[in-house]
């Protein structure tokens, strides 16, 4: 401030009266209070690609639920008068070699594919978090044994599990789900273990221990809650990989079998007609690609939103 300005002002004694202590507020916090999730959601919203992915995924889920419910066609209803039709007003995606409506079949397939993807991710989440959490927190010999088991599971290719389980339980959705889960929870367990290992030495965990908190309270309320970011990112990336595994298995013919349809079976069926009716393979493959893409965008967005430093 320059001194000319000071000369212009009227200076009176009352300006220099002591300030009332009620006007002093030194514990003032300007920052708006936001929870971790609000904060992350605000960051997530700024990522346009992730937002597009989320909108697409929500649309896909809604269509998967409602299209087969309200459509006049069902997924296994054959119509021998309309075989291999091109897209039209009646059949938006056309019909297949048995005259079934492809649009309904793709949406029905979305049910199976998305259900497999999400349930696999959720099952792995629970097993992985509990297993990894215990292994990391207890440590010592328990950790050593638990992690060697994980190593063994990891060492066998995941396809082998799936095929093996299908041999025993038959090829249906449940055995595919089981097969995917058996092999992919270990990734989550390793992630949670490493996070818990580093967090448990932090002072907030020690403070909870000194307060007398039980092991499960420390583990779930303090440690797991603090690695929730990494866990969510891992889950969002686990969904597409499970969907992909299921589609792949069905495509090579060891997954879900006709007349039930997943995106993989649809692609497999359309493969035979790829020369005469190439358009039929575009629909299931397109659905897989777009869903994968949006899930990956969401995963990226979530990762950035939960951990702003990692870009």
């Amino acid at each position: 401030m320059n001194n000319l300005e000071l000369k212009d002002m009227e200076w009176t004694e009352d300006l220099f009266e002591p300030l009332d202590s009620s006007e002093q507020n030194s514990e003032f916090i300007a920052m708006e209070s936001k929870t971790f999730l609000q904060d992350s959601w605000n960051r997530f919203k700024k990522n346009k690609l992730a937002l597009v992915g989320l909108v697409f995924l929500v649309l896909m889920i809604l269509m998967a639920i409602f299209v087969p419910m309200f459509s006049k066609y069902s997924y296994d209803q054959m119509d021998m008068t309309a075989l291999n039709q091109l897209p039209s007003a009646q059949h938006w995606f056309g019909t297949d070699k048995f005259g079934r409506d492809i649009f309904v079949r793709v949406m029905y397939g979305a049910r199976i594919s998305l259900a497999v993807g999400f349930s696999a991710a959720i099952i792995c989440l629970f097993i992985g978090v509990v297993y990894g959490g215990i292994s990391g927190y207890v440590g010592g010999k328990v950790d050593m044994v638990m992690m060697r088991i994980v190593d063994i599971i990891y060492a066998i290719p995941s396809l082998l599990y799936v095929i093996f389980i299908m041999l025993i339980f038959g090829s249906n959705v449940w055995s595919i789900l089981m097969g995917i889960c058996v092999s992919s929870w270990v990734g989550m367990a390793r992630l949670v273990r490493s996070q818990v290992l580093s967090l448990k030495e932090q002072e907030f965990a020690l403070a909870a221990y000194v307060l007398g908190a039980s092991t499960s309270r420390i583990l779930f309320k303090h440690l797991i809650l603090n690695c929730i970011g990494a866990i969510i990112v891992n889950v969002t990336l686990m969904v597409p990989s499970a969907i992909f595994t299921e589609a792949f298995l069905s495509f090579v013919g060891i997954g879900i079998s006709a007349p039930a349809s997943s995106w993989g079976t649809l692609a497999n069926e359309a493969r035979g007609l790829i020369e005469s009716n190439p358009i039929q393979i575009i629909w299931p493959v397109g659905a897989i690609c777009l869903t994968m893409l949006s899930l990956n965008f969401i995963g990226d967005g979530v990762g950035e939103a939960l951990d702003p430093k990692k870009k």
Partner: protein, 322 residues
């Protein structure tokens, strides 16, 4: 002095280094330490980083297991407490940590953080009663009741440390171990925290073990001070006397090294005599651990380990005093 609240006898805490197989050297983080703390008393514990002062504090609250020796709290041996008894012990003995940024769970609100100890121990009937207590605790440490819904990252370091203090106080403990509670804070805030802890002591009669590396800060809050070097106590005595008339060469060097906020004093000060740096704790010098840096070291220091002995009303572990 009446019955001490805490008594530590020949406490040893060793850590094994390296992997699972073969023989590895041990770090003697705490090596045969004995002291006691009375009711309503503060014992300051001072030493450089790596001297084992934090490990000592952590052993007392049972974060680390002692390798040997005994710890008595209110006359009861606590080294092998389990279950219900351990939980009762936790109600009486609390800890405040060094880093106010790491010691609060960032996903919980201040209210949840301070309420947690009451929930664990089932104090006060309802959440409402607990919240009342939380507000009361926040006011005790100079924060506002409406801070209860905020998250730790919204506070400054000093405010966070005050939240830590109110969490420790939530259980009305009889004894608090303060593990360098002020070293991560600004000077003006350090004095706040020290005065706050002192005021709490006046009001509740609580005892403290106050761990710090800064002798100057410790002096204000402590009744007695212990100086640690490489796992052992080298001097233990009344805080004013120790501060103004240090006996052990290490205490002398430590005091001489503290820069004093007074230019004239600083200009008149002699250069510090102590040489070299802390030897590796994996490979302690024979005899007196300090002899490698001590200006008065003699042959005897290498052969024998000096024990704490009464010298003019305090305890010193040095052969200079007979």
């Amino acid at each position: 002095m009446s019955e001490p609240i805490l008594q530590v006898e020949h406490l040893k805490t060793y850590f094994a280094t390296g992997g699972r197989f073969g023989k590895h050297p041990v770090v003697k983080a705490v090596n045969d330490v004995s002291f006691s703390i009375g009711h309503h008393e503060t014992l300051g514990l001072v030493g450089e980083s790596g001297c084992g002062k934090s490990t000592l504090g952590r052993t007392i609250v049972k974060i680390n297991q002692p390798t040997g020796g005994k710890i008595y709290f209110e006359g009861k041996d606590i080294t092998s407490l389990k279950g219900k008894e351990l939980k009762d012990f936790r109600r009486d003995v609390q800890m405040i940590f060094q880093d106010p940024y790491a010691s609060l769970n960032s996903r919980m609100t201040v209210g949840e953080i301070i309420r947690e100890p009451m929930e664990i121990h089932g104090l006060y009937g309802s959440t409402k009663e607990r919240d009342e207590k939380v507000c009361q605790l926040l006011e005790t440490v100079g924060l506002k009741p409406d801070h209860i819904r905020r998250y730790p990252h919204e506070f400054s370091g000093g405010q966070r440390q005050r939240i830590c203090i109110s969490r420790a106080l939530a259980l009305n403990p009889k004894f608090i171990i303060c593990d360098e509670p002020i070293s991560a804070l600004d000077v003006s805030i350090q004095a706040q925290i020290i005065n706050l802890l002192q005021k709490i002591q006046e009001d509740t009669g609580i005892s403290y073990l106050f761990i710090a590396h800064d002798l100057g800060a410790v002096k204000h809050i402590s009744h007695r001070i212990g100086v640690m070097y490489l796992g052992s106590l080298v001097e233990l005595g009344d805080s004013d006397e120790l501060y103004h008339n240090p006996k052990h060469p290490y205490t002398q060097a430590l005091l001489q090294s503290i820069p004093i906020p007074d230019p004239k004093v600083e200009r008149a000060k002699k250069p510090v005599e102590i040489s070299g740096e802390l030897p590796s704790p994996l490979n302690l010098p024979s005899g007196c651990a300090f002899r490698t840096r001590c200006p008065h070291a003699c042959e005897r220091c290498a052969k024998e380990t000096p024990q704490l002995r009464d010298v003019d009303g305090r305890q010193v572990a040095c052969f200079l005093y007979k």
